[in-house]
Symmetry: C2
Subunit: 209 residues, 2 copies
């Protein structure tokens, strides 16, 4: 059966989000951008209006609206840190999204959350440090810290977050079906390869041949 | 420029060797099977006749013959452990093979040895434990130890060897351009994807799009 849920984990500056969006467009799948959700959650304190205004990716809005309206933020936050609260909510929401299928989910440990889901293709996108540095300066501009330092800081934070909530090491190939170096392979080819990997494709080659 | 050297690192039982051979056949490249070399070296004490008899993969023979005839085994082994001697020889030989290009090299830390080679595509092949266990029983038969135990032992040894000689962690996606789960993707599709990844393919997609 076709893998109709694609999770994309990625290094900051690797173009993984862009790749995910292009894969979703190519396949006509919904696109869930975890970074947007996180950013919105952090910056707005769960203000739905902000999400509506920023709602470039439509499914995020309804997903978010569901998570924080139907269940009630106040009722849920008692006793949990914001991080744990966000994790618990995202866990449930990502499982619910997966039930609907036909989607690309970027970030948010979705690979781990959906690890037992047989129709899920887990992809990891990384890139050479030099290419990532060039990309973040192009995209986010210069900052007081060097691009390399900014990237190392981001990598460290993502690694810790992933370890904390999954117990696994981030970026270990065994946790994914497909890992791609986007600076070596190119964005377009990464998109092609993910689409190819998601298709139903019976293996007709004898391993013993 | 096309990547005309392909290294394939792989978990035992993942089918990586078979994939490498099929990629080499598809592209008309020479195929260098590090495991054969290791096995031969370990079992024969560098007996060339044995290698000739077992020489299913022609390039291995000439490579081995070169390594151990032209330079002289006795002259080189003084002062080095067998492991270190084998490593030093393989390092040099793999660099020489790479100079000729148009080849697939399986195992032997070739990814690390050729890490600064711009025409080299580094691939890592892994598979789910269950599929690997089934495969090794199919291929090598039952043994007193369970398949899982045999695999864990092999993984451990390869990991230690890789760490010892490269200083890197084995199976970390960042060390490869492409990592593939062969039991999820299928052997045939892994071959297709490696061939696709090795081709010259200018990236026409704007990362900012």
């Amino acid at each position: 059966m076709e893998k109709n849920i694609i999770t994309i984990s990625r290094e900051f500056g690797s173009g993984g989000r862009t790749i995910g969006r292009l894969v979703a467009e190519r396949l006509g799948y919904d696109f869930y951008d975890g970074e947007l959700v996180k950013k919105v959650a952090e910056e707005t304190g769960f203000d739905e209006k902000y999400i509506e205004q920023e709602g470039e990716y439509a499914p995020v809005k309804s997903w978010f609206a569901y998570a924080f309206t139907a269940r009630g933020v106040d009722a849920m936050t008692g006793g949990l840190s914001n991080d744990d609260y966000l994790w618990a909510t995202q866990y449930k929401v990502i499982r619910e999204i997966a039930e609907k299928g036909n989607c690309v989910i970027v970030g948010r440990c979705a690979d781990f959350i959906l690890r037992d889901h047989e129709n899920c293709l887990n992809v990891y996108v990384h890139a050479d440090m030099e290419a990532r540095a060039e990309r973040i300066v192009q995209k986010y501009g210069e900052r007081p810290d060097s691009p390399r330092k900014r990237l190392e800081e981001k990598d460290k934070k993502r690694k810790l977050h992933y370890k904390r909530y999954t117990g696994q090491d981030w970026g270990v190939s065994q946790n994914y079906h497909l890992c791609l170096n986007s600076s070596a392979l190119g964005i377009g080819r990464c998109v092609d390869m993910i689409v190819q990997a998601h298709e139903d494709h019976p293996d007709e080659i004898d391993w013993e041949a």
